[in-house]
Symmetry: C2
Subunit: 119 residues, 2 copies
Amino acid sequence: MSKSLLELTPVEAVACCSPVTREPLSADAAERIAPLVKAIADPVRLRLLSLVASHADGEACVCDLNDAFELSQPTISHHLKLLHEAGLLDREKRGVWVYYRVNTAALGDLAALLGGVTA
Amino acid sequence: MSKSLLELTPVEAVACCSPVTREPLSADAAERIAPLVKAIADPVRLRLLSLVASHADGEACVCDLNDAFELSQPTISHHLKLLHEAGLLDREKRGVWVYYRVNTAALGDLAALLGGVTA
DNA sequence: CCCAGACATTCACGTATGTCAATATTGACG
DNA sequence: CGTCAATATTGACATACGTGAATGTCTGGG
C-alpha cells in the first residue's frame, strides 16, 4: 500500500492540528493523536521521558535508565520501545549501548495542541 | 482543608511541578500526573474535551455531545465522568440538563508540564 | 400522581496493557 | 571461536479499559 495519512507516526499526526480548545477535533485527528497521548499516559514512561530529557547531553543510555526503576530490564525496554514508536524518543546504538534522546519538537507540538500556546 | 498529598485530584497534582524536560520527575509526581494524562489518552475523550472547549459560551450540554458520536449514551456519560473526575471538566446541572465546561487552567498546567514553554 | 425525557449507574464481555521469566540477539574482547 | 555484557523479543498472566444492554434516578409537565 502507498503511504497514507493513516500510516503517519503519531508524532507526525500532531503537528497539523490547531489546539483542542480552538475547534472541535475531527474523529480522524483524534484517532491519530490519542496514541501519542497514550504513550505518555503511564507513570513509568513519564519518568523515562523526564529522565532522558534532563540527562546530561540530552541523552541517556538504557543502562542508566534501568537503574532508576525497580522494574525488570525487559519492562523498561518495553516502555522505551513504546515511546520510540510513538516518535517521542530517538534511538541510537553505539557499540553495545543504546542511547535515547527526546524529540523535543514532538513534545512541544503536543503541548501546543493542549495548551494552545505556541512555543 | 487538611488534605494529604495523596488526596489531591489529578489536576491539583500537576500545578506543582517543573516541566518534565527540566528535571527528573519523582516517582510520586509521576504517579499523580499519569491519571490526568490517561484521562485524555482516548480519542473519544479528546473529542469531548475539544467539543466542550470550542462550544458556544464554553459549555456544552450532554445532549449535544451524545449526538456528535455514534456511541451509546451510557458510553458518553462514562467518558464524561472520567474527564470530570480527573478535574478537566466541570459539571453543572440546570434543570434536566447537565452542562460541562473545561477547566482551562488544568489543561494549561498540563501543557506547560509537557512543553516547558517559558520559564 | 404519573409519565416522559435527560443523564447516570450497574453488569457483563472482549480487548488492550503492564509486568516478569525465559530466551534471543548483538557487539566487544580474550 | 567462545564467552560475557547490554538490549530486545517472546510468551504468559492478571488487571485495566472501552463498550453496550438493561436499569435506576432525577426533573418538569399534563
